[in-house]
């Protein structure tokens, strides 16, 4: 779900040409978390519903199109959404349900073509150049995807069909909700040029401000501006990039994703925290979460990084590469803790902390330097035993003693990207 979705403005699009050569599909679930929740609450269909935490710092994670009519959108603070419409139904998020639904949807995509590039839980690019003979034209394949996702998962999605990733993504936004849009190769500029500059990939608030000051309002305006002027305004890389995109040129291929590159977890505190003991406990909890996910997925990671957001929103990350890839909570935590200590940020108020493990590889296939008796290998054995207990008795059945107290009154909200 992009930050700046292009709402359908109702004007019918006249895009001459057919779908020849439009082998890139962008499939995007509509109001994904909300749609998943509505499967179990059919009585709420057609009503304004949002998914998000109700806590002091909760944000809207998804909003139905009925809720969006009130100006509510995702990433908006919950308090603001409730001011816009106090009667909206709020559902607390259930992340496991969403991952499960996402896996199902991605499986459908992969049954269409092996070249699937997921962008997040709820959207992916597909290259269907090789599926034509089997499944039909790109438009037919897009229809098939929408029908199968609706049928097998009970979820609505929109699909954009185009010659490049960038146009396909714009087309799916334009098709929302529950729609399909093909942008034929010969109609790319006709489709693209009337759109506002904010729709261009890579135009954030700052770039938009700069371009608006130059009097540029639409993508057509950018296309009509010389590349050198753009480069002078926003820099070499961004200038060339914008110019190419404004003419519909996008060289990126759809690439099937490797398994996870990293596993991370972060925590926004209910209130800003300066207490080192609280911060360390949180680092331990997040380390445990990441390492358990590594073990569950049969992977080991080589680099541990921490993310710290201060009360003033300054955000920093620090990382350290280990001698040996690990899936041991103890090692992840010791590294995270020492990275935190090295910041010398004692006494500063923190808003968020995060732990991430990168450089992942399969535990089976990664050579492992054995150690003399004691140390890491023994921690690993203990933690595998904990994983088994957790599988049997549920989350938190066995955990580090430092984490036992806090859960009674946990008030913080968890984000797991």
């Amino acid at each position: 779900m992009s930050r700046r979705q292009l709402e359908r403005d109702g004007t019918p699009l006249n895009l001459p040409g057919d779908d020849t050569g439009c082998h890139v599909l962008h499939a995007d679930m509509d109001a994904f978390f909300a749609s998943v929740e509505l499967r179990e609450r059919p009585e709420l269909k057609g009503q304004p519903v949002i998914v998000g935490g109700r806590g002091g710092r909760g944000v809207v994670l998804a909003a139905t199109y009925e809720a969006r009519r009130f100006g509510i959108h995702s990433a908006m603070p919950m308090s603001r959404a409730l001011r816009l419409n106090p009667t909206v139904t709020v559902i607390e998020p259930h992340h496991t349900k969403y991952s499960e639904a996402s896996r199902g949807v991605m499986e459908i995509f992969r049954s269409i073509t092996p070249i699937v590039e997921p962008l997040s839980l709820d959207e992916a690019f597909l290259d269907v150049a090789g599926a034509g003979r089997r499944l039909g034209s790109p438009r037919q394949i897009a229809e098939l995807i929408r029908a199968r996702v609706a049928d097998e998962q009970g979820l609505p999605c929109s699909v954009g069909v185009a010659t490049t990733k960038f146009i396909a993504k714009l087309a799916s936004s334009r098709a929302k909700p529950d729609g399909l849009l093909v942008v034929p190769g010969q109609s790319v500029t006709a489709f693209l040029h009337p759109l506002p500059i904010g729709a261009l990939w890579g135009v954030g608030e700052k770039t938009e401000e700069v371009l608006t000051r130059l009097g540029l309002r639409t993508i057509g305006d950018i296309a009509a501006t010389s590349e050198s002027t753009l480069v002078a305004a926003v820099g070499q890389a961004a200038g060339s990039h914008l110019h190419a995109l404004a003419w519909g040129r996008d060289e990126r291929h759809v690439t099937a994703h490797e398994p996870d590159r990293s596993i991370g977890a972060e925590e926004t505190f209910g209130h800003d925290v300066a207490d080192v003991a609280v911060i360390r406990r949180e680092l331990l909890r997040l380390s445990e979460r990441c390492a358990a996910r590594l073990r569950a997925s049969g992977q080991v990671g080589r680099t541990v990084s921490i993310k710290i957001r201060f009360a003033d929103f300054r955000t920093i990350t620090r990382s350290r590469t280990l001698k040996e890839p690990t899936d041991v909570t103890r090692v992840v935590y010791d590294t995270a803790r020492s990275l935190h200590e090295a910041l010398n940020a004692d006494g500063e108020l923190l808003r968020l902390v995060g732990v991430r493990i990168e450089g992942l590889s399969s535990a089976e296939e990664t050579p492992h330097q054995l150690a003399l008796a004691g140390g890491e290998d023994e921690w690993r054995a203990a933690e595998h035993a904990i994983d088994l207990a957790t599988a049997r008795f549920g989350n938190g059945a066995v955990r580090p003693a430092a984490l036992v107290d806090k859960d009674a009154g946990g008030s913080a909200k968890r984000n797991e990207p």
Partner: protein
Amino acid sequence: MKLRVERDSFSDAVAWAARILPQKAALPVLAGLRLEVGPDGALELSGFDYEVSAQAQLEATVAEAGSILVPGRLLAEIVRSLPPQPIDLSTDGARVVVSCGSSRFTLPTLPLDEYPTLPAMPQVAGTVGSDAFAAAVAAVAIAAGRDDALPVLTGIRVEIDGEQVTLAATDRYRLAVRTLKWAPVDPGMQATALVPARTLAEAAKSLTSGAEVTLSLSAGGPGEGLIGLSGAQRSTTSRLLDGEFPKYRSLLPDSSSATATIDSAALTDAVRRVALVASRTSPIRLSFSPDGVSLEAGGVDEAEAQESLPAEFEGEALTIAFNATYLLDGLGSLDSDEATLAFTGPTKPAVLTGKTGSDGGTDHRYLLMPVRLSS
């Protein structure tokens, strides 16, 4: 203070004493090198950082006795670059003038009254041949840990049992143990100490100008233990590390299922070559059989290397993998033209030994944990 010294011996002494001075001193005076001269014409240089102290003595022609504290690293750099002519040192108020030939430097001095008292040299425990000691310490120090989070493993364990000294170090992945003969003051002496490995290695290496090194030891309570080493006009002390060194003797296997004896220079060269295709984390694989040893590294999607060497092999054939750097460290520490590897299994520690030393008193073992390959 006013004196004249010979350039080369002064330069050596300054470099030796200043080498322990911290790059960034916790207290400004700790960046200082103390120069003290008595009326008898002996100049003593001292450096100290609360962990390690170093002192050097040399002859000087003294016109006026006294003591000063000067910025040590700066003095070392200046003296090193001076021409080969006598050096004159003299104080001028709060400054010191260093002149040599037509060069003249003026340095500020540091407040001597704020300088800490150097620890007294502990009681002498015995003497050891300086070259053998330096070689033993260097051979063991390579196995010491470098991670300050595990301070105990950054040390060398020194065990004195009568006329034998055993040195041991481990970083949990390998363990090096060497025993050598020495001459204790008390022939029945029993003592142990844990000495920071890097400090001990540097000190032992720099004390080889004399034939012997004198070891001094004081146990004391936690944080108070001290070791002293002295030889030919140089002496140094180091604080001991606290904590329990792993019980390493039980890790040394008492039997083996196979042994291989290989020309150690040929094996070193082969490991070095084959390791060129091993990334930092991927190991080199050694397959032993009565036909010899074959070395391999790399994999299907990467560069691969393979090399075979003759070996005298006895026992069950096996394939075992090691981190190449750890294996090379071990081979480099053997000091022998033949290397013997003893195995008990592909996931059990291997023991690397050389031929028994020519002096008959040296016994060196390098225990190396293998890398477990993918299943």
